[in-house]
């Protein structure tokens, strides 16, 4: 097995020299990548990967980046699906779904939230009933990014109404291209419609698309959520890290793929408050000469720099194999909210009355306006600030939980009927 960093570099280069051509179709190329184990080298050897450490994987990434080679498909909820399957999927499920995730042939969406279960995800009331070797699913999901073009979904549904809420859930892989699945776009306050509502009416799921066994849905969903939270905490938008300005069929096809996959996320930088634009804007407008603005700018810089440093420390700890010594995900996510809010206020102070304007001719051609009306999302999406604070207090600080009022059979628990 290749393990030394320099050996890895040599091996990747050799493979690319032999296998890569910009004239391949995107799928052809990625199929070669998958077959050779270079599509996701950090994945286990029996799962299309090579079991590489973060350090080893970084060597591979660097070679790809330097040589401008197109890598595996990454963007969107497909990453959540893939990483969850790596942990909880059966061998059959991994074999059936992971390759087409890596090649980008199939896109995915996440079907967790419901109108009646937002913060309380385990309160999902979408019903899945066994019928032979199938499950029949009825209910409504919401906040489903990319559902309008997804081939598959990761779905949490209730399979037992007599068990306590966390125990009655199961986790499914659902084919989105079927008559029982209706997807409607959901317009947000910033005018975008990145999310969808998904109506499930006698939708069908195969028995072998149940993940982790009947009634174990919450444990599987927790893995997905934790992966999602880490993405937030690292400030990582699910965007490709390298766009491909080079020439050739594979690059053209990747560019098209990215355009579709990234479409729901165009405003995501704005929901983070665009602290990166603050200094430049303050100088341009002259607001930098206002001492009160400077104070608020500095508070923002403190928060955003410290969040970055803190994330680096966590990564460095992890690299050293020191484990999660510092509390990570939820603090990072909560920090992102505080930063976004402060950034929006600083942008408001900097723009003055121009902060009223949006669209063309407004500050930074609408980017500032979009920021001001997008930041409210950051403290809600992926688990509200309130939920993050609960997690930090209970799991990191070990503070006692509140007495629950939602124990006992799920059917008896008070809930909003949607």
């Amino acid at each position: 097995m290749i393990v030394q960093l320099n050996e890895i570099e040599t091996a990747v280069n050799q493979f690319l020299d032999q296998a890569f051509s910009p004239d391949l179709s995107l799928i052809e190329w990625r199929q070669r990548l998958v077959a050779a184990g270079w599509a996701a080298p950090s994945w286990p050897e029996d799962c299309f990967g090579r079991g590489f450490t973060a350090e080893q994987t970084a060597v591979v990434d660097r070679v790809f980046k330097t040589r401008r080679i197109v890598g595996a498909a990454q963007v969107g909820p497909r990453r959540l699906a893939a990483e969850t399957l790596l942990v909880h999927g059966s061998v059959d499920q991994k074999n059936r779904y992971l390759p087409s995730i890596l090649t980008g042939e199939h896109s995915w969406c996440q079907l967790f939230s419901e109108p009646g279960s937002g913060s309380d995800l385990a309160g999902a009331a979408t019903k899945a009933e066994r019928s032979g070797d199938q499950w029949i699913v009825n209910g409504q999901k919401v906040w489903n990014t990319s559902a309008h073009h997804a081939d598959f979904g990761i779905l949490v549904a209730r399979t037992d109404w007599d068990l306590p809420k966390h125990q009655g859930l199961s986790y499914f892989l659902i084919d989105m291209r079927q008559p029982g699945v209706e997807v409607r776009p959901l317009k947000q306050m910033n005018g975008h419609a990145s999310f969808n509502e998904v109506f499930l009416t006698d939708a069908v799921v195969r028995q072998d698309d149940l993940v982790g066994g009947e009634g174990h849905g919450w444990a599987v969903a927790t893995t997905t959520l934790s992966i999602e939270r880490q993405g937030f905490a690292r400030g990582r938008n699910p965007r490709a890290t390298h766009s491909a300005p080079a020439q050739g069929r594979v690059y053209d096809e990747e560019a098209k793929e990215l355009e579709i996959d990234n479409e729901p996320y165009t405003w995501y930088p704005q929901r983070e408050g665009r602290p990166d634009l603050v200094f430049e804007r303050a100088r341009e407008t002259g607001a930098i000469s206002d001492a009160a603005v400077r104070q608020e700018m500095a508070k923002l810089v403190c928060l955003s720099e410290a969040a970055k440093i803190s994330a680096r420390f966590v990564a460095a700890h992890r690299k050293l194999g020191n484990g999660e010594v510092l509390p990570a995900g939820s603090i990072g996510k909560l920090g992102a909210s505080v930063i976004a809010r402060q950034a929006a206020q600083v942008h408001t102070m900097i723009s003055g009355t121009d902060a009223m304007l949006s669209g063309s001719g407004s500050p930074m051609d609408g980017v500032i306006a979009e920021t001001l009306i997008s930041v409210p999302a950051i403290s809600i999406a992926g688990g509200t600030d309130e939920i993050q604070r609960n997690i930090i207090a209970e799991r990191v600080l070990g503070m006692p939980k509140e007495q629950r009022q939602d124990t006992g059979p799920f059917r008896d628990i008070p809930r909003n009927i949607s």
């Binding site: 279960s117 913060s119 947000q188 003055g352 949006s358 407004s362 600030d385 629950r404 009022q405």
Partner: protein
């Protein structure tokens, strides 16, 4: 100085509230925000000709109702509660105050009756909505009575019957009347964060003007203070309505088997918001009472504007947060208030600018004492 609202004022509030409740429900606001003018002509007619609201604060001698900033504040607080989108702030408040403060006798006799009845809709054109010190820095009238310059943000100009402009001139700052249809005037719509209040830019290229009167620095400051206090009422109205609806939502929304309003973190946040609202209301009402008798107006006006702005924004942020994903949807009404809050926050000067002014006023009072 008044210490609290009179019985008449309380009744007046009820009349206005009922009118807006009937005539400007949220469904109408949502529909009108998609139109160019942003308001319903029939509601405006009724509000003006049946109730005379646009003339509330304008002198009785010219056809106004002869009340003051207190009664005007009551109207604006109620309009803030329902996000009423008609040209009240632009024509009645801004242009109305400007006319009554700056126009000469003859012009007042002509203009105020029609502004008061709402028959005449005037957009007041200022080249700065940030602070009075910057007004008249870019709009100038030459010796031949021609106006040139640009106003970046003007409220309700596209639907106005006429434009009143504060501009510099060889004779100092003046209030001028311009026809929006003159060929030397270019108006174009601006996209606003807050779709319920229509903005445009106005360009003047040697446009012919009629001088209505002189604007002195003290008068301009008085105008600004009156406008700030009116706007503060709109903001506390919005914040109040939003806090009420948010608290109601937390009572009915169930998560984890209990109404979310029973979670202590949400309770405490709402309690803090109520305190902020009570304080912002206190400052705003006090400002109206003080302005009515001209007592320390600059200080109280700035205090009201700073507090009402922060309160409205803070409430709007919480109102979305406590509704979770729902609060971020277009379908829910909360974002309409959020956007109004954001625009009101910067209109007529940001909170930190008014805070700085408060300290200047304290220094001034201290020196005077």
């Amino acid at each position: 100085m008044q210490e609290t609202f009179t019985e008449d004022q309380l009744q007046f509030r009820e009349v206005v509230r009922k009118f807006l409740h009937d005539k400007s429900p949220m469904s109408a606001v949502r529909q009108l925000q998609e139109t160019e003018s942003g308001y319903d002509a029939e509601v405006w007619r009724s509000l003006g000709q049946d109730l005379g609201l646009p003339g509330t604060h304008l002198p009785e001698a010219y056809g106004g109702l002869g009340y003051g900033p207190i009664e005007l504040g009551i109207i604006l607080e109620e309009m803030g509660r329902t996000l009423y989108g008609g040209p009240f702030l632009s024509s009645a408040v801004l242009a109305g105050y400007a006319t009554s403060l700056f126009a000469e006798e003859a012009s007042r006799q002509v203009l105020i009756p029609d502004i008061s009845s709402g028959i005449l809709r005037v957009a007041l054109v200022l080249d700065s909505l940030s602070c009075p010190e910057l007004v008249g820095k870019t709009l100038t009238v030459d010796a031949a009575d021609r106006l040139t310059g640009r106003a970046e943000i003007v409220i309700d100009a596209l639907s106005a019957d006429e434009l009143h402009v504060i501009a510099d001139s060889p004779n100092g700052l003046g209030l001028y009347r311009v026809s929006p249809s003159a060929e030397e005037v270019t108006l174009y719509a601006r996209e606003s964060i807050d779709l319920t209040r229509k903005l445009s830019s106005v360009l003047f290229d040697h446009a012919p003007v009629e001088r209505l009167g002189q604007v002195d620095a003290g008068g301009l400051q008085r105008f600004w203070d009156l406008a700030c206090v009116a706007l503060s009422h709109e903001m506390i109205g919005g914040a109040g309505a939003l806090l009420e609806s948010t608290v109601e939502y937390t009572k009915i929304r169930v998560q984890f088997g209990r109404p979310i309003g029973s979670f202590q973190a949400l309770k405490h946040r709402c309690a803090d918001l109520l305190m902020a609202l009570e304080f912002a209301k206190a400052a705003t009402y006090q400002a109206a009472f003080s302005l009515a008798v001209d007592d320390n107006p600059g200080f109280v006006a700035s205090m009201a504007k700073a507090m009402a702005s922060d309160c409205f924004m803070e409430t709007a942020r919480a109102a979305i947060q406590l509704r979770g994903g729902l609060g971020f949807t277009w379908e829910d009404d909360t974002h309409l208030f959020f956007k109004r809050a954001k625009c009101d926050e910067v209109l007529l000067g940001l909170p930190h600018v008014h805070r700085e002014r408060m300290i200047q006023q304290m220094e001034g009072n201290d020196r005077a004492a």
